[in-house]
């Protein structure tokens, strides 16, 4: 039986997948955002290195802005830890039995790591 894909947006919103669903959505959004941001950071690095370009410097000025850094680090750290969870569960499927606990564990690892970045970024933003 084929999967029905004719689902309206509002019906889709009613789907109650809980933690795993939100992890999946956040993983996709953060992945897409990183493709765009890291891609433009690579291009900007190339332009600055080769031509001393103003465009490259402008892109990197946005990239180094502290608010942007806080958002970017949220996406990167979440994507890294969530991806590690997915990898471990996929390569050792016996652990799938504990998949909901794995999400709690994932946030437990996220909080101190992001807290450290939060501390460092805000400290340097305040010029301390």
């Amino acid at each position: 039986m084929a999967l029905n894909r004719k689902v309206s947006f509002f019906t889709g919103l009613k789907y109650q997948g809980g933690g795993p669903m939100w992890a999946w959505i956040l993983h996709r959004l953060s992945g897409l955002a990183m493709v765009f941001f890291v891609g433009s950071h690579i291009i900007a690095g190339f332009l600055t290195q080769q031509f001393g370009s103003d465009v490259g410097i402008a892109i990197n000025t946005v990239y180094e802005n502290w608010i942007f850094q806080l958002v970017l680090f949220f996406l990167v750290i979440f994507h890294a830890i969530n991806g590690l969870r997915v990898t471990i569960l996929d390569l050792w499927p016996a652990l799938l039995e504990h998949q909901r606990e794995a999400i709690w564990l994932q946030w437990l690892a996220f909080i101190p790591l992001y807290g450290l970045i939060l501390f460092a970024v805000i400290k340097s933003a305040l010029g301390m």
């Binding site: 992945g31 493709v35 891609g39 290195q49 590690l84 970045i117 460092a120 340097s124």
Partner: protein, 139 residues
């Protein structure tokens, strides 16, 4: 609208990329941990700030830590770190662009749109990869 065509079981592109996504994630963790260890050694004399350490961890290129208080980078500009940069670039860019392909192909399932998007994504992959490799070799 019919459902997405799913590839046959066995060793094909979709399976290879599925495996690559997991293995490149582990590869990026490895490259990052090697960079993190080196960054601690590199910045130990001046107690370098965390942002320099993290920048070297993500991409171990000398121009990535140019505005920091590291005394001497000479020991970190060599072919080993170029290989590390190449690995970070290859795993990172390919992982990201393949992720883009997966998201796009979840929504564009039929007709001429799919080969068009595939071509566009392939060219984007090649372009960013070549630009990044150029930066590695030229720095």
């Amino acid at each position: 609208m019919s459902s997405r065509t799913v590839a046959k079981r066995g060793f094909n592109l979709d399976y290879m990329m599925w495996l690559f996504m997991r293995l490149s994630a582990l590869g990026l963790y490895l490259v990052g941990l090697i960079g993190l260890t080196a960054a601690f050694i590199m910045g130990a004399r001046t107690q370098t700030d965390i942002s320099t350490v993290v920048r070297w961890m993500f991409f171990p290129n000398p121009s990535h830590v140019v505005s920091s208080d590291i005394v001497n980078l000479d020991g970190f500009i060599n072919s080993f770190w170029q290989v590390m940069q190449m690995l970070a670039v290859f795993f990172g860019v390919t992982h990201g662009i393949n992720g883009l392909r997966i998201v796009v192909e979840d929504f564009i399932s039929s007709g001429w749109g799919r080969p068009l998007w595939r071509g566009f994504i392939f060219i984007t992959w090649l372009f960013i990869l070549l630009v990044a490799v150029y930066v590695v070799l030229a720095s």
